[in-house]
Symmetry: C2
Subunit: 132 residues, 2 copies
Amino acid sequence: MISQTAEYALRAMVCLASRETEALPGHAIAQITQVPASYLHKIMKQLVSSELVSSQRGPSGGFRLTRPSSDISVLDVIMAVDPIKRISHCPLNLPEHAHSLCPLHRRIDDTIGQTCEAFSQTSLQSMVESLP
Amino acid sequence: MISQTAEYALRAMVCLASRETEALPGHAIAQITQVPASYLHKIMKQLVSSELVSSQRGPSGGFRLTRPSSDISVLDVIMAVDPIKRISHCPLNLPEHAHSLCPLHRRIDDTIGQTCEAFSQTSLQSMVESLP
DNA sequence: AGATATATAGATGTCAATATCCATTATGCT
DNA sequence: AGCATAATGGATATTGACATCTATATATCT
């Protein structure tokens, strides 16, 4: 459903949301979220470049959210690390389906849309109790 | 959202649904659905062993649905080739979450549930116009 | 029985996601 | 200035999904 990478990113973001004031270093996030530290760094980089998170090097540095956790959705996080792709044209490339999806892909894409909608309506704030 | 394998399986099943009486050989399904023939065989084997499809060897053999297409859902097909896994316990293994999911995983699993529900309510019959 | 058409089985190859490691750069502290 | 802390970047495994190939078993037809 969602990739391992997205799962890790969400854990990290919920972790940051639960400590909104401090800057948390990567190794601390890794320990709390149980994400492999070296892989987490890759993911944090993506979150920084999509501007959901800011980073600060050096002692007492680390990561923190750029926006209030109430203003970041699960979908924001997923799209930053592992974009959900909508089906915009029928993969069979049939001429009949050039301008509207066939029923099969229409149905699948509708469901993808529902999922995006559900994830966009859940903020990080509402999940803050998730981590110790 | 759904794997390539599930997408292929759905195309094959819709193809069979649109020709409910005849037995279609694998190479014909592959051509119509644009699925790589040798990989399709692997998928058909899974569909046969989950009893959504029956097979017949030899000349004028092939594959056909075991049930009316109105009685097979998209979810049936997906579960046969690439089971959607529900989240039954928090992957962090925290003692606090031993018996109920944390908000993050609760939310994700609810969404998975919605998706399953949507797919279970769509029959192959309703998508028969999908293929030539 | 022989020829042909078809599914089945198993071995193997390819590639992207996942994960690790090491060197480098930036920052704050004493 | 020098040291410790932390992010960043790049090279390199590892793994599982996807795909291909070849050989074999089974059925139909003449």
